[in-house]
């Protein structure tokens, strides 16, 4: 039935040579752009752009996974990220870690615990949101889940304004403890690159590679891919659709939580209105990369990071959101399928 009524956007034929040469060309163009950006911004801003891009990429992956599997723009996802910054902040302050930790062993343990705690809490929150607000509307007209999504976004924002004051911070702006020493830096030429930035980039890349392996190599990943491709057929093949979608939400929200932790470490502040703009930018990243495609989302995240930092370098700091939005419209007009093409269903 899919093929008969929807011939216009049937899966594009994926011959091996076509996309590969396309990807190679794209990689070449991006490589040249990276060199240009490096020469223009200098190493310091280049690393800043990579760090910001890594955070956007982690958020964008959540958008793209959810969109890939249930075709819903999860407006609440940016706010899930924002909640992540607050959960991490709460975890660290409640345990008494308010300043930089210089002991490497303790730092590793605390960071690992912080990431694990925040990611699990956010993952469960994401599953709960899906269960309560999206699952009952899975077969409703598509306006309905979009409206609940925007409702959930507002609920999260206002809960964060209401709850954290009881733990002694907030309600709007809060200082997040920077337990990772910000003054340790690597000297490259005449620029000093903070180790923290490198740490964030490495962690983000590791998570993205891990996700790629998980989706590509495991049984659950296969279930996710098949659900994205054709929910009914997957269900007939014995895939538990509800569980698969819940796991997708868990992973997407956990990655947003990880982004929240890294945001707190990098910038040392958070704000209950943070999720709105971050969500918008991350969604732009997901569309830019080709929505539904996790590699594309990661790529898009880094590109948005470069655009935003580039705008700041060029002296248009407060125009950042406007420039990112302009990018979104341009992409939608000229290449709505994104840089890496329409691969909805190919990846979860």
């Amino acid at each position: 039935m899919t093929a008969t009524t929807a011939p216009t956007e049937a899966p594009v034929s994926r011959s091996l040579s076509g996309p590969q040469s396309q990807v190679a060309g794209l990689a070449a163009v991006l490589g040249v752009l990276l060199v240009v950006a490096f020469l223009w911004m200098g190493p310091q801003q280049f690393v800043n752009a990579l760090t910001l891009g890594a955070i956007y990429a982690l958020i964008a992956i959540g958008y793209t996974m959810v969109y890939g599997i249930i075709e819903l723009i999860n407006f609440a996802h940016g706010d899930v990220f924002m909640v992540g910054t607050f959960v991490s902040l709460g975890f660290l302050t409640q345990l008494g870690f308010n300043a930089a930790i210089n002991d490497p062993v303790l730092l590793t343990v605390v960071l690992a615990a912080d990431f694990a705690f925040t990611m699990v809490v956010l993952g469960i929150a994401g599953m709960a949101i899906e269960r309560v607000a999206y699952r009952p509307l899975r077969n409703a007209p598509r306006l309905a889940p979009l409206i609940t999504a925007i409702g959930v976004s507002f609920i999260l924002q206002n809960l964060v304004q209401g709850v954290p004051p009881y733990f002694g911070f907030g309600p709007f702006n809060a200082n997040s403890p920077q337990i990772f020493p910000t003054d340790i830096a690597v000297e490259i030429g005449n620029a000093s690159i903070p180790v923290l930035s490198l740490f964030i980039i490495v962690v983000a890349l590791a998570m993205m590679i891990g996700l790629q392996l998980f989706v590509g190599r495991t049984r659950i990943g296969r279930a996710m891919r098949s659900t994205a491709l054709d929910r009914d057929a997957a269900s007939l093949m014995g895939v538990n659709i509800n569980r698969t979608i819940a796991i997708t939400f868990f992973i997407g929200s956990a990655l947003a939580g990880a982004a929240g932790v890294t945001f707190g470490l990098q910038y040392g502040v958070t704000n209950s209105g943070l999720g709105f703009q971050a969500g918008l930018k991350a969604f732009t990243a997901a569309v830019l990369g080709g929505i539904g495609n996790t590699v594309g989302a990661a790529l898009g995240g880094f590109i948005i990071g470069f655009i935003e930092v580039g705008a700041a370098v060029a002296g248009f700091n407060s125009w950042g959101p406007a420039i990112v939005f302009g990018t979104l419209v341009v992409v939608l007009v000229f290449r709505p399928s994104g840089l890496l093409g329409q691969q909805v269903g190919e990846r979860a």
Partner: protein, 403 residues
């Protein structure tokens, strides 16, 4: 307004109710005019009797009603987009902002200086008359921006429109704030001339009655337009697109231009509301047009009943009044009484949490809203009551690829 006549009030005799219903169906515009006149007379009277006077004075009530009327206009306009045509517009405040600034440029010394004209010198004491052409110009400018935004995005599937409008709603205030050389930045534009209408008395901050009358009139006119549009050929096309875009296209509807028309008309209504709002506030600044405005209006539309104009009008009126009178009074009451926990809660802050809960709750439990539109109700409940549920499921999966 049919609001009065269609409400399931305990009718004295079913015969009269039936006759009123028939009349309102045949003479919609007359009914709207009569209904708005009745409402316009009854509201100030209600505000002058005891339980209501204890909240605030009658003048304050009428001022509040005029402000509520601006939100009623916004809700009617958004309903055209979201409720009738089924396009989710999350940046509606942007068009409100554009209308507001359009009036500010035409009717303030600062704006005139930027535009290189001098309205005050040309018109003298009757400078407020510029309000009337600006209603149309403001609507037109907002519609142009609606088309500029909608043209690239309405060709894509509906979700993209939601996110693009969300972005647009975020960007427009940034532009008004950052382009400070022509917009006066964060301070905004002040000293805006108040409207002038022969025979309506002085428009001023302490005399809200002229504003109240003008607002009532505009709501009536916009309602008449809205009802006539929805019952016309293009209105049926909007509903067809909302229910099934593929089927609508297959039946010869140009979906892109039809959607664009809905989007532009919705934007122009926001432009009108913006002109009126600025003429009332006499000052405009970027921070008036945050996402909370868009969100509030969306909540009004969803709660009132998507697709039903009088329903969203009533929804907007009630929500605005609750926010600005009841929540405010609760704050003052608990502060005055020194109630331990409740006095710490800012009920005005709580409103957005309530909106969020209401949006989720309504969509889950009663997606057709409090005052449902019949066709919309059938659509929203189709898959829940339809015995052939697998049919729906497979249709839904086919649509994934095609929208």
């Amino acid at each position: 307004m049919t609001a009065v006549t269609d409400l399931p009030t305990p009718a004295p005799a079913p015969g009269i109710r039936e006759r009123v219903r028939t009349f309102s169906g045949r003479h919609r515009s007359t009914t709207i005019l009569v209904g708005m006149a009745v409402i316009g007379l009854v509201l100030p009277l209600i505000a002058s009797v005891p339980p209501f006077t204890s909240f605030q004075t009658q003048t304050a009530w009428i001022d509040g009603f005029a402000n509520a009327g601006i939100f009623v206009l916004l809700a009617i306009g958004l309903n055209l987009v979201v409720g009738v045509a089924g396009l989710l517009d999350l940046g509606y405040a942007a068009f409100f902002a554009i209308g507001s600034y359009a009036y500010a440029y035409a009717a303030s010394p600062y704006g005139n200086q930027i535009l290189g004209i001098d309205v005050a010198a040309a018109l003298g004491p009757a400078v407020g008359i510029v309000f009337w052409p600006m209603l149309i110009i403001g609507a037109f400018v907002a519609a142009v921006f609606g088309i500029l935004l909608g043209a690239p995005t309405l060709r894509l599937r509906g979700d993209y429109l939601a996110i693009v409008t969300l972005g647009f709603g975020e960007i427009v205030p940034i532009v008004f704030r950052e382009a400070a050389t022509v917009t006066n930045g964060t301070n905004g534009i002040g000293g805006i001339y108040r409207p002038w209408v022969p025979g309506l008395g002085t428009f001023s901050a302490i005399n809200p009655i002229p504003y109240y009358i003008v607002t009532l009139g505009l709501v009536a006119v916009v309602l008449i337009f809205a009802y006539r549009l929805v019952e016309s050929r293009v209105g049926r096309a909007w509903e067809a697109i909302r229910e099934d875009e593929l089927a609508a296209a297959a039946n010869g509807i140009n979906t892109v231009t039809t959607k664009l028309l809905a989007f532009a008309l919705g934007a122009s209504t926001a432009g009108i509301a913006g002109v009126l709002n600025t003429a009332k506030l006499t000052v405009v600044s970027p921070d008036q047009f945050t996402f909370t405005i868009s969100f509030t209006v969306l909540a009004m539309v969803v709660l009132g009943g998507m697709g039903n104009f009088w329903g969203v009008g009533v929804g907007a009126f009630v929500i605005y009044t609750i926010n600005n009178v009841v929540l405010h009074s609760l704050n003052q009451f608990f502060d005055a009484m020194q109630v331990p926990i409740l006095m710490d809660i800012d009920f005005l802050q709580l409103q957005f949490l309530l909106y969020g809960l209401a949006l989720v709750g309504m969509m889950l439990l009663r997606p057709e809203g409090l005052f449902p539109n019949n066709r919309r109700k059938r659509e929203l409940h189709a898959d829940m009551t339809d015995p052939s549920a697998d049919e729906m499921l497979s249709t839904e999966s086919t649509e994934e690829g095609s929208r």
